[in-house]
């Protein structure tokens, strides 16, 4: 369990590190979202929800 710490480290030098670990600044938020919804978000498809059902095109080749 005890790690090998052979080098002598000055207590004074450690003080800042101790303080840094105790009172660390809040990290930047990491915002990740479920990927399946990202496309919809870009289009702001929000008010009515998901896109409507596919519909026939006038061009028969598009079917």
């Amino acid at each position: 369990m005890i790690m090998d710490r052979t080098s002598h480290v000055e207590t004074a030098a450690l003080s800042a590190e101790v303080e840094g670990l105790l009172d660390s600044a809040e990290p930047q938020g990491v915002f990740r979202d479920t990927r399946e919804c990202e496309g919809a978000l870009l289009l702001a498809l929000l008010l009515l929800g998901s896109p409507p059902t596919p519909r026939p095109k006038t061009d028969p080749k598009a079917r």
């Binding site: 710490r5 000055e10 030098a13 800042a16 101790v18 670990l21 809040e26 990491v30 915002f31």
Partner: protein, 235 residues
């Protein structure tokens, strides 16, 4: 993050802390040999002192559990006194620095056999922030004091935080959203101690979720295990 000490071949303090936190987790969870702080972090090792100061009251947390550990007597006292002597909060120390120091002192009085006269007195710590901080700031600060969420430690603080339970619960929501697992775990641990946590928060599933999401971070695990062992939350 803190600058790492540059000593040649030095193990970063954060790694020493993580390793020690792991030892505390094992002890709290009831695995392995009986816990003895002075075997985990040895006397005369500057890094060990620093790690005890960072872990604060948590260095002694296993002693707060019945039947799980036998305090290591003189040796434990010596390493704790060494840490308290090496890293006292200075005149312009942050509130977190003072409070965590206080937490270690209180835990020494409560859990080590030497009694209060063998350790420094707990320093006075400003507490206006408990009422004045907006909830996101309050939540971050309280999470930094997670080690004080121990039975018999910081009871006054616990009483005062009760009035801000909903705010701390909001902080938990914010921390999870930000994927700040350490903050979320620290807040969850405090919430486990406080009465009247809103049931819709889902604290028990939340603690389990945070532990899994942190992918084995020992400091996160420590808070989650403490919430379960001392306050019965988190399943």
């Amino acid at each position: 993050m803190a600058e790492q000490a540059q000593g040649a071949g030095a193990v970063p303090l954060s790694a020493v802390v993580a390793d020690a936190a792991n030892g505390v987790v094992l002890a709290l969870a009831g695995g392995g040999d009986p816990y003895a702080l002075s075997r985990l972090l040895r006397q005369g090792d500057a890094m060990a002192s620093a790690a005890i100061r960072v872990l604060g009251a948590d260095a002694l947390a296993p002693y707060a559990l019945d039947h799980r550990a036998v305090p290591g007597g003189e040796n434990d006292e010596a390493v704790v006194r060494e840490a308290l002597a090496a890293y006292p909060p200075g005149p312009d120390a942050s509130a977190v620095s003072v409070w965590t120091y206080r937490g270690l002192v209180e835990a020494s009085h409560a859990f080590l056999p030497g009694g209060a006269d063998r350790f420094p007195q707990a320093p006075r710590a400003a507490s206006a922030w408990v009422t004045d901080d907006p909830w996101p700031k309050l939540s971050h600060r309280v999470s930094q004091l997670a080690a004080l969420a121990l039975p018999g430690v910081a009871q006054d603080l616990a009483d005062r935080l009760t009035a801000r339970t909903d705010d701390l619960a909001r902080g938990f929501v914010r921390a999870v959203r930000r994927r700040d697992w350490l903050q979320a775990a620290g807040l969850g641990r405090w919430l486990a101690r406080l009465p009247d946590v809103p049931p819709t928060l889902g604290l028990d599933t939340g603690l389990a979720f945070v532990r899994q999401m942190s992918d084995g971070d020992p400091r996160v695990a420590l808070h989650v295990v403490a919430a379960r062992q001392f306050y019965g939350r988190g399943g």
